[in-house]
């Protein structure tokens, strides 16, 4: 009896949630002028178009050197943004962590900076920086840098707070200084996790770099945009394929590193 009643209540809750979601879905469709059926119906058509038009031809392969050049620039930009952001984020992460942070006030400050740079979208940073830095690699780099700081700081705070920090007490008792404790006990203990997050951030940044590139006119994003706007679909296909190959290669590589160190 009782069990049935609980199950009935649970089912009822599920039904209410589902109905509510359906209602919001309907409202969103009206608001954005989106037709689910039409959207799904165009899918097969879209895929047919993609497979017949987005093909890499011999002619487009001639553009490979330019594309590779831009791709390398984008990858380097993503790596540089991630590594430099890591340095700042480590400081902020230690400051913001509950277990090894020094003062409450600095902790709040660190979390505030992280939240601000994370929640203001990368596109906004890109557009703001574009205004005065102009159309060059540094603009894209800085936009990615700011976003990475926000994301990595939050990740590092969690890593530090979740790993065992019992050695901190022991080192305090030996008379070690604060910086010695952080550098020789806290960071080594968290290093595998930290590296794992860095690799993840690099993957994310390469994808984001495409977006930032379209907005700021740099890197592979700009190349894509050029072909796209001139309706050169073979070029579009080639750029897309090269991005996919690069991302998958980097993902495989970092998965391999992760497997060893974690």
């Amino acid at each position: 009896m009782n069990e049935n009643r609980i199950r009935y209540k649970k089912n009822q809750q599920m039904i209410i949630v589902v109905l509510l979601l359906a209602l919001v879905t309907y409202l969103s469709s009206v608001l954005t002028d989106f037709n689910i059926l039409h959207g799904l119906a165009t899918l097969p058509e879209a895929f047919i178009w993609i497979f017949s038009n987005l093909v890499v031809t011999e002619e487009s392969l001639e553009r490979m050197p330019t594309i590779l050049d831009k791709l390398v620039e984008t990858i380097l930009m993503s790596i540089a943004a991630t590594t430099t952001a890591t340095i700042l984020s480590l400081f902020l992460g230690v400051m913001g962590s509950k277990s090894v942070g020094t003062s409450k006030l600095l902790g709040i400050l660190a979390r505030f900076i992280a939240s601000l740079s994370r929640n203001i979208p990368v596109v906004a940073w890109a557009l703001i920086l574009l205004l005065s830095f102009g159309q060059n690699s540094l603009t894209g780099y800085l936009a990615l840098f700011v976003g990475s700081v926000g994301f990595l700081t939050r990740a590092f705070i969690e890593v530090i707070d979740e790993s065992s920090q019992s050695a901190v007490e022991a080192l305090q008792a030996t008379g070690a200084t604060y910086i010695q404790i952080i550098m020789k006990a806290v960071i080594p203990e968290c290093l595998p996790q930290i590296i794992s997050w860095i690799l993840f951030m690099i993957e994310t940044n390469i994808r984001n770099a495409t977006l930032v590139g379209i907005l700021t006119g740099t890197g592979i994003g700009y190349t894509f945009d050029l072909y796209y706007k001139t309706l050169n679909y073979h070029g579009v296909a080639l750029v897309t394929v090269s991005i996919v190959v690069a991302v998958i290669l980097i993902e495989l590589l970092s998965n391999h590193v992760r497997k060893v160190i974690l």
Binding site: M14, S29, E73, L191, I195, L199, L215, I243, V257
Partner: protein, 282 residues
């Protein structure tokens, strides 16, 4: 002294204190390679037309204007809220459609519910989807399906599916084996098991993950508005900065996005702390 037989010495004769195992080696190598690549990056950057001092000063001034004197000038508050609504709507639609499709895909990706090779095919498929940046999906769909909200939602759908299938299938894999076996023993069919065992025991969990993706999709929707013409507040942001050069309006729009993003983040954090064990926090 006996201890000396256990000492390892470096090439310069000093006693080594590092364990020198594979993990240490790989970590050091990774850090070294990344450092070298970073230096290379700064050497090879294209610095065309950059006057760093002026740029920093100008950016500082721009940021000051944006954040201290925000104002709307090209559209009113009603319009602003409508545009935010569109962005939220796009994010919501791609999330909810993604969640429904992911539910079925995840059933076929969970190792305890299907056989191995289907799982593998689904995983490879998802890896490919993830490798294409969302903005490319949206832009490609814009030409393939015609511009409009359909292209934006479909484009954003792909990464949502990649994200949610992974989360959902892991949730399904954690469902107690006993429940599934017990139902199987009574002769229940596959769908019966899904509806009566899998779905009820993972529902709140699935909902939490879906919300986390909604938080991400809000930011993605803003980006797609700005970079792929998907409309909404992101497009207004793009117009304000690249077309009107109106810093005050950029500031106000940024504030609106920031407030919403923080609200979504707070809800996500609450959900995470409530429903997720510490080990699988995102």
């Amino acid at each position: 002294m006996q201890a000396t037989t256990h000492m390892k010495r470096r090439s310069d004769g000093r006693i080594s204190i590092k364990s020198g195992n594979e993990v240490q080696l790989i970590m050091q190598l990774t850090i070294l390679i990344l450092t070298v690549l970073t230096v290379l990056a700064f050497l090879f950057f294209d610095y065309t037309g950059l006057d760093i001092q002026r740029a920093i000063q100008e950016t500082a001034y721009n940021l000051k204007v944006m954040f201290l004197e925000p104002a709307l000038s090209h559209f009113g508050w009603g319009e602003a809220i409508y545009q935010v609504g569109i962005t939220l709507g796009l994010a919501f639609l791609s999330t909810i459609l993604g969640a429904v499709l992911s539910f079925f895909l995840a059933l076929s990706a969970a190792t305890n519910l299907t056989n191995e090779w289907i799982t593998k095919i689904v995983r490879i498929f998802l890896a490919f989807i993830r490798a294409v940046p969302t903005v490319l999906w949206v832009l490609i769909f814009a030409i393939a399906a015609g511009l409009g909200s359909e292209a934006a939602v479909l484009g954003m759908l792909f990464h949502s599916i990649a994200y949610l299938v992974k989360a959902f299938s892991e949730a399904f894999e954690e469902v107690d084996k006993g429940i599934i076996e017990a139902l199987r023993a009574t002769g229940a069919g596959w769908w019966h098991i899904v509806v009566h065992a899998i779905l009820p025991s993972t529902f709140t969990y699935l909902m939490s993950w879906t919300f986390l993706r909604f938080e991400i999709n809000f930011a993605v929707a803003v980006a797609m508005g700005a970079a792929a013409g998907a409309g909404g507040i992101g497009f207004e942001l793009f117009m304000a900065s690249s077309f009107y050069f109106d810093l005050r309006e950029v500031g106000m729009i940024t504030y609106m996005i920031l407030v919403l993003a923080i609200i979504l983040e707070v809800i996500s954090t609450l959900l995470k702390n409530r429903y997720f064990p510490a080990s699988i926090k995102n």
